[in-house]
Subunit: 145 residues, 4 copies
Amino acid sequence: MPSTIDDVMPPVPTVDAVNEMIEHLFPGSNNTCEGLGSDFAIAMREVADSELRPGAFISGPSQFGLADAALWYLVFGATGRIEPMALTSELSIRFLRPAQGRVLWARATLDVSGRRNVVGTVRVWCDDREHKPTATAQGTYVLPH
Amino acid sequence: MPSTIDDVMPPVPTVDAVNEMIEHLFPGSNNTCEGLGSDFAIAMREVADSELRPGAFISGPSQFGLADAALWYLVFGATGRIEPMALTSELSIRFLRPAQGRVLWARATLDVSGRRNVVGTVRVWCDDREHKPTATAQGTYVLPH
Amino acid sequence: MPSTIDDVMPPVPTVDAVNEMIEHLFPGSNNTCEGLGSDFAIAMREVADSELRPGAFISGPSQFGLADAALWYLVFGATGRIEPMALTSELSIRFLRPAQGRVLWARATLDVSGRRNVVGTVRVWCDDREHKPTATAQGTYVLPH
Amino acid sequence: MPSTIDDVMPPVPTVDAVNEMIEHLFPGSNNTCEGLGSDFAIAMREVADSELRPGAFISGPSQFGLADAALWYLVFGATGRIEPMALTSELSIRFLRPAQGRVLWARATLDVSGRRNVVGTVRVWCDDREHKPTATAQGTYVLPH
């Protein structure tokens, strides 16, 4: 009997399943999952006026929050399980240019998925300007045990 | 003629002056400055219910936001100028234990203050438990030029 | 007269020019540049026995050093100038799995190149196993002024 | 029977025991432990000429290596056990000013000691200038299980 990819790669949860969990457990969140695979995740957030700084710049903590959300979704894609209790262990972020726009995006890509931890790299941008990132981040999520 | 400390150390802005600027420029902010010196700053935030995760844990991005605010106030204390346009260049944060409480605190201490940058280390805790930090962070602010 | 890419993109120094500078200024270095473009750089190091830890694991500081070198080369590619006095401002590294092998590699990719700073993301691996990174890093170089 | 501090705080290994382990397992290391407690560790290194850059500056990777060593010793002090197989999980470092001198020092202070991880903050300086740090770092060690 042939071995298949299913032997080693768990099925990726659907975007809808992720967003239903968020809505159920975090009804106040503005972040949604817009794409998910075993080695990437895309997060999106419509920016509220209260997140804007003078000059209409999107605040750093808003960008951090979306990068953190993208890594969380990545945990679901990489492990094949929606794990609401996976927790950020550490995250570093660098701000690259002013963030102006109505929609903030973040794409997390997998560095490694282990038994205890998932590590990923995140790019943050505004509207349709993925080639002009406003922030870049890396971080670690720890899995519940 | 004797040299004095005033030759090298600029006067530290008052806590009231910092909070007036925040209220004026960032009317939606819940962060306030509660202490300021040339080498430290203390930030405080009363936690809103919307920042709580299941289990009444204060979210990571809320802690990041207060650590970032404490570093921003530290820039004012270290340079002697209230610089609203000082910007976070990079910040790394480590989460140490669950954050539960009604008031979140952050104390930033100065690592270096240069012509271009201010670097500091931040400890975050809940209520009166400064000896049980919930997060530790380090980061860099870049000064406007 | 049409504008061309040469108007905005400076020419990338050659790998040979980079390695000649290294040999001239840092004769003790074991790191070499093995690839360079305007948005990437590849660094290589033959691992000495003294860098091995028990179990023949390549030490963390050796991996940090090569990641740092790859970012330095990236500065040359992104700015079009060999700048020996560009300095690391900050660097964060995450170790992903044990590093075993004879040759250590690092690939830096550009996040942003500005007037003051260059920010990049780095992947480190052993021998021909680029798909099994042993470390991932991000950091900032500051340009001399 | 009274409870004592020994119920909760394991005895701290001696500096001599740490240095004997280093000499035994890492005979090529130039780092030594110069102080150790349950919440701090001091590491020292006499700088070799090969670690100097043009201008007699101590290289960034040398400073990273000593910061990493100080965190490793801190694991021994915080857990009460000499754990050679404790491994760096992640470390971020910021360089604050040029490092010039013959002896490099690093002091790690404990942020948290948990079942899986130890997190600490590190200050690096040259000779007797602890008040003029050349680098500041934070990082996480993971304990063997």
